[in-house]
């Protein structure tokens, strides 16, 4: 019996350990896994394996890397930690955590099992993602955590300890301020992206909103590694949410590496006094823009009608005066009426690699006041080659520059302050108060 107990795990290791999944033979058809603790489903797309619980198996290098946080549930009480390992074989998937900031490893008293799945990509082997979902957390609270796993022999491999915090409960804390970092279009210019990550880090945001085009071609895995490597020091502490950009090309790599609510394309969530709606303006079928996607966006905004502040992030701007892409009449036709109907305060875009702030607008017309009107901000300068800026009748300010922005949201006021890659401030932002 004792021999059996020893041999069985070794047989299991021998069975699973070995070569990573050869992409030549890899067929991922996607699938759904129900996370009991959180009572939601994790669904992977065609091109990825069905998510499954981790197993106590290590490959040659089980060191966790590219750690980044996401949200799928209520950010007041939940978070998703995601990571890869040095090899693509390791199946062990765990998170250790405890309440408190900057705790020592020994103080991480709670453990949760994670899930993992491989996905199709460029390269010789299938990259493997690990996720750990934490729910039932306390609002406005700091937690320390590390991710990694334990193999069948008891060997462990964990990341350094990071600290994150949950979104505040604004009913209990009406003075709560939340800070969003807003940035987009890093593709190719990773030296600039690295500088902007440092700038964002020094501003201690609660959440990063990325408006798309992290990479030049969504299927190219090495570019994703460029992106996440430079962002890890920020993304391991601050969750990030992204809109799908045209360069992500609806690749499975994008959906596999970025955990987000709902279908990961069109969704919304509350964070502090803000409700953030995210839309995919590059669907696989363009007719979805004015159909299914518009309905989803409208439904999300209707559901959150009572939100104090409404933000809408998608990639391609409805209003841009850049000489490269410029405004999108297609998107105006598809989505502008929804934006106007729900009195969205701020629309966040990228795609044009410059920085622009519009005057307050309703139905393509400039308004004297921002009450009930929408301001459109383009900040597509996270590293991609800059485009020439321009001006049009809606333009309040435009500049050809690398940039990111910080959005401070309080109960009665929302401000946006932008800065260049060197940290110098861009003079024109956005500020609005509500009685």
């Amino acid at each position: 019996m004792r021999i059996m107990l020893l041999v069985a795990p070794l047989a299991l290791v021998a069975c699973v350990k070995g070569n990573p999944v050869d992409l030549g033979e890899f067929v991922g058809e996607g699938g759904t896994y129900h996370v009991d603790d959180c009572d939601y489903d994790v669904t992977t797309r065609y091109g990825a394996e069905m998510p499954k619980p981790g197993q106590p198996i290590f490959g040659a290098d089980p060191t966790p890397r590219l750690v980044h946080l996401g949200i799928m549930g209520d950010p007041k009480t939940s978070v998703v930690a995601q990571w890869r390992t040095g090899d693509e074989v390791t199946r062990a998937s765990q998170i250790r955590f405890a309440k408190g900031a900057d705790l020592a490893e020994a103080d991480l008293t709670e453990t949760r099992e994670g899930i993992e799945f491989a996905y199709d990509s460029t390269g010789a082997v299938a990259p493997r993602m690990h996720q750990a979902h934490l729910c039932g957390l306390e609002p406005g609270t700091e937690y320390s955590y590390q991710v990694g796993g334990t193999d069948i022999t008891g060997r462990t491999s964990f990341s350094p300890v990071y600290t994150f915090h949950t979104a505040p409960d604004v009913v209990a804390h009406p003075d709560a301020e939340v800070v969003f970092g807003f940035v987009g279009d890093s593709r190719g210019g990773y030296d600039v992206w690295n500088m902007l990550v440092s700038q964002l880090e020094s501003r201690n945001p609660d959440l990063i909103l990325f408006s798309g085009d992290m990479v030049t071609i969504g299927l190219t895995q090495y570019e994703w590694e460029d992106f996440f490597t430079r962002a890890e020091r920020l993304f391991a502490r601050v969750p990030f949410v992204s809109a799908h950009g045209n360069h992500e090309v609806n690749a499975v790599n994008y959906y596999a590496q970025v955990a987000m609510p709902g279908d990961q394309e069109n969704f919304g969530f509350d964070y502090g006094f803000a409700h953030v709606t995210v839309g995919n303006d590059t669907p696989d079928d363009i007719s979805k823009l004015a159909g299914e996607f518009k309905s989803k966006i409208d439904a999300d905004m209707t559901k959150s009608e009572a939100a104090r502040w409404k933000l809408f992030m998608h990639h391609q701007p409805m209003f841009s005066a850049s000489t490269r892409h410029g405004p999108s009449a297609t998107l105006q036709d598809a989505w502008l009426s929804t934006v106007d109907k729900h009195h969205v305060d701020l629309v966040l875009n990228g795609h044009d690699h410059d920085y622009e702030v519009s005057k307050p607008m309703i139905n393509k017309l400039v308004q004297a006041s921002s009450d009930n009107a929408t301001v459109f901000v383009v900040a597509g300068g996270a590293g991609a080659e800059l485009y020439d800026n321009g001006t049009d009748y809606w333009t309040l300010y435009s500049e050809k520059t690398y940039s990111a922005a910080i959005i401070n949201v309080r109960r009665d006021q929302m401000t946006l302050s932008a800065f260049r890659q060197d940290g110098t401030g861009i003079p024109q932002g956005f500020s609005k108060t509500k009685p």
């Binding site: 009406p174 003075d175 210019g189 501003r203 391609q316 490269r324 110098t424």
Partner: protein, 378 residues
Amino acid sequence: MIRALLVIVACTAIASADPEADADAAFRAAGALAAKSDPAAITAFEALGEARPITRWTDDAWAEAARLSENARDYARARRDYRQVVALGTDPRLVARAKGALARIEELGGERWDAVRATHERLASVINGGDDPHDALQALADLVRANPQYPRANLARLTIAMGWEAEGESTSALAWYREGAESAAAEPGQHVRLEYVRALVRAGELDDAERALAALDPALVDQGGARQAAETLATAHRRRAIRYAIAIVIVLLVAGGVIVARREAGGWPAVGKIFARPSTEAWFLAPLAILLALVALPGNPLVARAVRWIGVAGVGTAWLSGALLEAARTRGPLRARRMIVHVVLVIGVVGAAAYLVVDGIGLLGLLEETWRGGPALE
């Protein structure tokens, strides 16, 4: 009057029986001032921060005052107000942000550089703000020369370089890029030096770009940025080779056409006479080209420029083509084989000219992006 009332509310409201409610009202009043970019907002927030008893709004008031002071480039005041947030220590998030901001401000060497930094920020805003940047570019250049030890001097050089580039002053721009690159040899990430490489590629100085790329410190440079710069340079080399080859083909075809026309027309004066007046084909195509240019005008500016210049190339080619056919007809009816060769060559010239236009105005990158990332929504 309203402003004065708001300041009074912000400064005195906390003296009543419900300090929390009054502080809440004072915070709102100060926020309303801030939304109007009124400098009195900082005073109003500071007054609320100093008021006692401490309320839930006290640390928030200091944080807002500090943030507004930093945005107003009053770094001494920002420092003082951020320190108040840290000293109060009532909200870990606000404390973390205040500490981050203090580190960000001190990163540049502390109070020593406050004045230089404020001037740098102000001038950078003027240079990038859309007004005439020439005076600001000169002033920033003077600032950099006077303060070579300023921690952001290399980034200021980059601002100057990009400012001159935006003004179309390529020589001045490249000189500043080069000065920045030389001064930033030990810079982690090598951002300024990578920008120099990119600027040289944009300016078509590909050999210099090769040298600048080779000069990057492999131990310091951001590998992803360097790889992308190398790819951009390789693409520029490839496109330049194609451009030269196409230009040579066009010149040879046009020259060959003119020589054939001379032979068929019987001498240079006859050729000159035929070429002097627009052909029927040119008269036919010109209004179509104008119409297409007008239709394209409200759309993407790059596409509009391309349509305009392709139209010009098309009309020019039609003029030349018509003249050649007219010269050929002076020797009798045209044979089918000659017509087919003529049409193929004309299509080739128009295609080659269109490529040169698309490449020349930068539309090739947009087409490549469309190929890679799908069509942009127009």
